[in-house]
């Protein structure tokens, strides 16, 4: 699905920020269309919610009694895989080259468009894994409100992890901790949960600022 913005970017140079942002709405509505009629669970009081996934197809839980499921293992596995791709493969080298300087990469003989398309395929696949693990592991059925803004949160996580796939695991645990902590605080101490979003937004802005500032070096003469 991410192929469309990638092809548009590769072929016509369409700004991928704008297209992917708008494709959010298109895909959400596209999923909502079957969810309203043929996929809708007939036993479920008319909520736009699909029938439950078969028990055999669901991801098993790691510990009985907790809702933690093997999607977490899958996530760590994918993080390691992405790390291997990024640091140990030709594609990873090309990805970093294109990311740092597309012009220079093109002069070095790298097909920028192919790298864009491959990266988009990888990224779309990973996003699908997120959806799969959430449906097959946690919720057991498909709804439209599976991800309350996780896509944007993942940008924050990526920035906090300094774009390192292994760091993503720890950054994601940190961000998840803030969310869970804010939920607990709002239950016990009546603190609004928006505090978590506020902290994360501040963290994101300060993080990008810090990354930029660390590039400066103190020069003495």
């Amino acid at each position: 699905m991410l192929l469309v913005p990638a092809l548009l970017k590769a072929r016509f140079g369409v700004n991928e920020v704008v297209t992917t942002l708008l494709f959010n709405f298109i895909f959400l509505l596209f999923i909502s269309m079957p969810l309203e009629a043929p996929l809708k669970d007939p036993m479920d009081m008319g909520w736009p919610k699909s029938a439950r996934v078969l028990q055999e197809a669901r991801l098993p839980r790691i510990v009985d009694g907790l809702r933690l499921h093997w999607g977490f293992g899958l996530a760590i596995l994918s993080a390691v895989l992405v790390w291997i791709i990024q640091t140990r493969s030709t594609l990873g080298y090309e990805m970093r080259a294109v990311g740092n300087n597309p012009e220079a990469a093109r002069f070095a003989g790298i097909s920028v468009n192919m790298v864009l398309i491959k990266t988009a395929l990888l990224s779309g696949g990973l996003a699908t894994l997120a959806g799969f693990s959430e449906v097959a592991g946690l919720k057991g059925s498909l709804t439209l409100d599976l991800f309350p803004g996780f896509g944007y949160t993942s940008i924050i996580v990526a920035m906090l992890a300094l774009l390192n796939p292994i760091g993503v695991i720890f950054a994601a645990l940190f961000v998840a901790g803030i969310f869970v902590g804010a939920d607990t605080m709002s239950r016990s101490a009546n603190v609004p949960t928006y505090l978590a979003d506020f902290m994360l937004a501040t963290a994101l802005l300060l993080m990008v600022l810090t990354i930029m500032l660390t590039r400066f070096r103190v020069v003495r003469d």
């Binding site: 940008i155 009546n190 506020f198 802005l205 990008v208 600022l209």
Partner: protein
């Protein structure tokens, strides 16, 4: 014929104009930014913050322009981070959106609690 009646009715056009007015403001703001080569993804949050501050200003007896001033402050934040510091525009934009919306909701829930 029914469709034509609907299109010719005054309420249809009143609703269209009503819904278009915030779009005009938002588009004008985005247009200025895009002309200068800056993608302003922070606009969503700044709009929420401006709405809250406009309400807040009128509620506490000052002028409506306070909302505009707060929007300008967020614009200042966005532009300082993108232009002199040269940070990636879409990351900063998303950050500003998240910051402005969450700060607004935080203030609102503190206000109403």
């Amino acid at each position: 014929m029914e469709l034509l009646d609907f299109l010719l009715s005054a309420s249809f056009w009143a609703a269209a104009i009503r819904i278009a007015s915030p779009l005009i403001f938002a588009t004008l703001g985005q247009l200025i930014c895009e002309r200068a080569g800056v993608l302003n993804l922070g606009i969503e949050g700044i709009m929420v913050a401006g709405a809250f501050d406009g309400w807040m200003a009128v509620y506490s007896g000052t002028g409506l322009w306070m909302g505009v001033a707060v929007g300008m402050l967020f614009g200042l934040l966005h532009s300082t981070l993108t232009a002199p510091f040269g940070l990636p525009q879409h990351v900063v934009g998303l950050g500003v959106t998240l910051l402005a919306t969450s700060a607004t909701y935080l203030c609102l829930s503190a206000r109403t609690a």
